[in-house]
């Protein structure tokens, strides 16, 4: 199964081989960067230790680069949200002699297929660097393009994203890396083959070991293998197309209510898009967190809050949601926009309103009700919510208090309570 899955993933990513050892996306980033480092060292380029990373990158990118001893050079994005090509070229030139790698996510973390991606890869290669592609957005690539085809040398996959391993409430994940032939010798190995006579893993000049087990969290690999094997080649491509379609459909439904921050050159987004909530702070005193908490009253988990851009919500529906569900979520967002409009017009109080007091618990409507809006509006803001209510356990959590008074075990609570 490992052999077949490796082949499937290699073909999907457009690479020559895949290592199944890294057991998270961050672990995959670390493994890929260590392979790049080993590659440079094998060519005598020990001085190549500069890694260019866009400011919009996922936090694990620079964190992983730091773990490989790389010096990080940050480049910015332009007004369209794309990698600033001038800054990229300048950085590549300035650090040409010491350039190890670029880390890039494609489509961008802003949800756009940047036109200049091939030029970016070529620039890095011209200056002796390797291209690491963060595979978090593979859901917009599978069957349509691939990192290898685009020009990357290595990428990681998040099997717990694109390939259906469940999120588990915070793990487990798997982050195998796809790599081109010139990096294959450096793939991570494992001491168990030496000590136990187990199957050999890794290249012939491995940079080391990244996980305690040779195939990482092997037991969950069958989940991705099942997904790929049941969808088929055409099914996987349709999945990507539907992911893109669903995002564009939602953006269209919402664009007159909230500004969509970045779009591609033909006015579409990829598989995700960003809604800009910052203007609402000025017009209604509403923070993006208020919207996130109010969505709980509608029975929804908030989209990604304030990343990659502060004060925004990033929405990725995926291909697995029906039109009814997409519409229901959009209706919730539109209803919330009306609630915000009430604040803007003065019909609702700026401090004490449905958003600033969200989420609303069952306890709150059972006890004294002294708020300027109705219980009905608070906890049953739409028909479908009345039919199927999910109750938040708590009112809004106080984060500052929790960090100032750190208590991390049950015993500690008792000590505090008895003190």
């Amino acid at each position: 199964m490992f052999r077949d899955l490796t082949k499937q993933l290699a073909n999907i990513t457009g690479f020559d081989d895949v290592s199944l050892q890294p057991n998270s996306g961050a672990s995959g980033e670390y493994a890929g960067l260590m392979a790049i480092r080993a590659y440079h060292q094998s060519r005598g380029d020990h001085h190549r230790d500069v890694c260019i990373i866009p400011v919009s990158a996922h936090g694990t990118n620079p964190a992983s680069a730091a773990m490989c001893g790389m010096k990080i050079v940050v480049i910015g994005t332009d007004e369209a949200g794309n990698v600033n090509m001038d800054e990229l070229k300048a950085a590549a030139e300035k650090h040409s002699a010491n350039l190890a790698a670029l880390m890039i996510t494609y489509p961008s973390t802003h949800g756009v297929y940047e036109d200049g991606i091939r030029e970016i890869c070529d620039t890095i290669h011209a200056h002796g660097g390797q291209v690491y592609m963060d595979g978090a957005n593979m859901n917009a690539q599978v069957g349509l393009t691939s990192p290898g085809f685009i020009g990357a040398d290595v990428c990681h996959l998040n099997l717990h994203k694109t390939f259906c391993i469940p999120h588990g409430g915070g793990g487990p994940g798997m982050g195998p890396i796809g790599i081109k032939a010139h990096l294959m010798p450096f793939m991570p190995n494992h001491p168990s083959e030496k000590d136990f006579g187990a199957l050999p893993v890794g290249g012939d000049k491995p940079f080391g070991t990244v996980s305690a087990a040779p195939y990482g969290s092997a037991l969950i690999l069958p989940i991705s293998y099942a997904y790929i094997s049941m969808m088929g080649a055409e099914g996987l491509k349709v999945a990507s197309e539907r992911a893109i379609l669903n995002a564009n459909y939602m953006a269209k439904r919402l664009e007159n209510h909230y500004p969509v921050l970045f779009k591609g050159k033909n006015g579409t987004c990829a598989h995700e898009f960003i809604l800009d909530m910052r203007p609402l702070k000025d017009t209604a005193g509403v923070e993006v967190e208020d919207i996130a908490k109010r969505l709980m009253d509608y029975g929804y988990h908030s989209p990604t809050m304030s990343w990659p851009v502060s004060g925004t919500l990033m929405i990725e529906p995926t291909e697995s949601e029906s039109k009814q569900e997409l519409d229901r979520f959009c209706n919730a967002m539109i209803a919330i926009r009306k609630e915000i409009a009430d604040i803007e017009s003065g019909a609702a109080d700026k401090e004490n309103n449905l958003l600033t007091r969200a989420p609303h618990t069952a306890a709150s409507i059972a006890g004294e009700w002294d708020r300027p809006y109705s219980k009905q509006d608070a906890v049953f803001p739409a028909d479908w919510v009345s039919q199927s209510k999910f109750w938040p356990t708590n009112a809004r959590v106080d984060n500052v208090y929790g960090d100032r008074n750190l208590v991390t075990t049950h015993a500690a609570i008792e000590e505090v309570e008895s003190a």
Binding site: G171, P191, T304, R396, T408
Partner: protein
């Protein structure tokens, strides 16, 4: 489907009704109907086209063409490696095919240890957590108000680790023991503000732990020195820490108090990599001076799974809380003044500190940490003690029998792993065991190590005796030897209590357990309720057919180092 004839006669005789409509059966329509793609890609083709038009394009095709840049469009269709993979299996076709493939795995009886041990996953936890989408489809608990279920479970996990290790602060899981050890090494370096570039690693640590630390040190510009922890130079001011394994990889339980004293005097921190079940029996590292404790919670009811996923853990003192990697669950209050759990001190983590973060870790092992915590809750301290004593007892009986056959037992006390000197060499023993479908660990040319666990039975020990006897039955059995085997208290025997909190002491019947699990589940919003449109997280369908094989024994019970 071919319609052969639709002879509609416009008369009302009953005869004409007999042959009004007939067609041939097409072979295609008799193929598998449980196709998967339409279950996963939720909108119908018609709806999809309608949505494309709403966006302003004539078709889905046109929208995609306008979105994916021309210069990266793949020139040929995706090839998944075979005709069957390209076509796509139906759900039952896949399960049949994969069951046959998985059946090729030979599940030997394992005594390989080395950080991975057999365990019984309580069925109530298997079905209600690992096989329950209400427990496995939630996101990371950043939105605390709708995540109190798993937050409480992770707090239980932290409490469990803290109790067993006797270290006040634990995180809510790392990826595995080896990377947890590497993270602890990084902490030691950070404590020394990067001024002490060397780190000692005992050669009694598990091989994979040593390798991961070696690799990690390389990238961080640290140098690890692997050797005998008793003879390291503790006066070397370049060394930021030392790591020991407790019990050692060969099973020995050793007194590291000397190491701790010397290390601390020399300005070094001490990292103890431990076995979690052993800590129910042995004096925990928090009581003999360790600064950080790492390990794996796998043997608390999480299947071997050929290496994972399992929850690694790291625990330390309050002093180092800001250097701690990974997610930490903490207690706060909500707007109504009620206690509320949440993810604490996120400013240490990569999503905020980026390259200055304590670690790059993002996704951890929450589901498995939850399973391990529930295992401890279900068994309670007495149940865990019984499991540990049984493993130890069987190990002692095995040593007694092996000694009778001419093997030489270990000089040091041990918990569950017996190292034997083999008069005819280790290879012969390993081969004889393999013939009996048993895996034992070859330590070197003369020694084997045999690790006992929750799943070992008296009959298993008898099988071992036979295998160690070259395949011939012995005149004694585990049962017959038992009365003559003594288990003594040693200076290592644990005296302090653990898992005293009520949560570990009240859910011991299945009804209580299943209701506790359900109570927590009800507090968590997951994909069973509504879509979770988190950008960059791709919260798509986790289909049941995809999940089904992970609990098959032929996949779940394989040791990662099985040859």
């Amino acid at each position: 489907m071919k319609v052969v004839s639709a002879a509609l006669k416009n008369n009302n005789t009953s005869q004409s009704f007999n042959k009004i409509f007939s067609r041939q059966i097409s072979v295609e329509s008799l193929g598998p109907l449980d196709t998967f793609e339409r279950r996963h890609n939720s909108a119908s083709k018609e709806e999809a086209e309608e949505m494309a038009r709403f966006v302003g394009f004539k078709s889905v095709r046109e929208l995609i063409d306008a979105t994916v840049p021309d210069n990266i469009k793949a020139p040929q269709a995706l090839n998944l490696g075979s005709e069957e993979y390209n076509r796509g299996y139906s759900e039952t076709e896949f399960l049949d095919m994969f069951k046959k493939m998985a059946g090729k795995n030979k599940v030997f009886k394992n005594y390989l240890g080395t950080g991975y041990h057999g365990t019984h996953v309580p069925q109530v936890i298997l079905r209600n957590i690992l096989e329950n989408p209400g427990w496995y489809t939630q996101y990371t608990p950043y939105q605390a108000e709708i995540s109190q279920g798993r937050l409480e479970s992770l707090l239980n996990f932290q409490t469990m680790i803290s109790d067993l290790t006797k270290m006040p602060l634990s995180n809510s899981s790392l990826l595995d023991e080896g990377t947890a050890a590497a993270e602890a090494m990084t902490m030691c370096s950070a404590i020394a503000r990067g001024k002490k570039p060397k780190f000692y690693v005992s050669n009694k640590c598990h091989p994979q732990t040593i390798e991961i630390c070696r690799t990690r040190a390389d990238g961080l510009g640290l140098e690890i020195v692997v050797g005998d922890e008793a003879t390291f130079d503790y006066n070397d001011k370049q060394v930021c820490g030392v790591m020991v394994q407790y019990p050692a990889t060969d099973g020995s339980v050793l007194d590291y108090s000397d190491v701790v004293e010397k290390a601390h005097k020399g300005g070094m921190k001490v990292v103890a990599a431990c076995d979690i079940l052993a800590l129910t029996q042995l004096k925990p590292p928090g009581e003999w001076g360790a600064d950080m404790v790492v390990g794996s919670a796998q043997r608390f009811g999480v299947p071997l799974g050929y290496g994972g996923p399992h929850a690694g853990f790291l625990a330390t003192t309050e002093e180092y809380k800001r250097l701690m990697p990974g997610r930490i669950i903490g207690i706060s209050v909500d707007a109504d003044g009620n206690p509320c759990l949440r993810m604490a001190m996120q400013t240490r983590e990569q999503h905020i500190r980026r390259d200055k973060a304590t670690s790059n870790i993002c996704t951890a092992q929450a589901l498995l940490a939850n399973m391990a915590a529930m295992y401890a809750i279900y068994h309670g301290p007495k149940g865990l003690d019984d499991i540990a004593k049984k493993a130890h007892g069987l190990a002692k009986i095995f040593e007694a029998g092996a000694t009778k056959m001419g093997f030489q037992g270990p000089a040091n006390p041990y918990f569950d792993t017996v190292t034997l000197k083999c008069p005819s060499g280790a290879d012969a023993v390993v081969a004889s065991c393999a013939k009996a479908e048993i895996n034992v660990r070859k330590l070197d040319n003369d020694h084997v190590a045999v690790a006992f666990d929750e799943t070992t039975t008296l009959e298993d020990v008898d099988d071992l005796f036979k295998a160690f006897n070259g395949g011939k039955s012995t005149d004694f059995s585990a049962s017959s030897l038992a009365p003559s085997v003594n288990v003594e208290e040693t200076k290592f025997t644990r005296k302090s209590k653990y898992l005293t909190h009520p949560v570990f002491n009240v859910y011991h019947s299945e009804h209580e357990m299943v209701r506790y699990i359900a109570r927590l589940e009800q507090k968590d919003l997951s994909l069973v309720h509504s879509m979770i449109a988190l950008g960059s997280c791709t919260m798509k369908l986790n289909a049941t057919t995809e999940m089904a094989p992970i609990t098959w024994p032929e996949l779940a019970n394989i040791h990662p180092f099985a040859p």
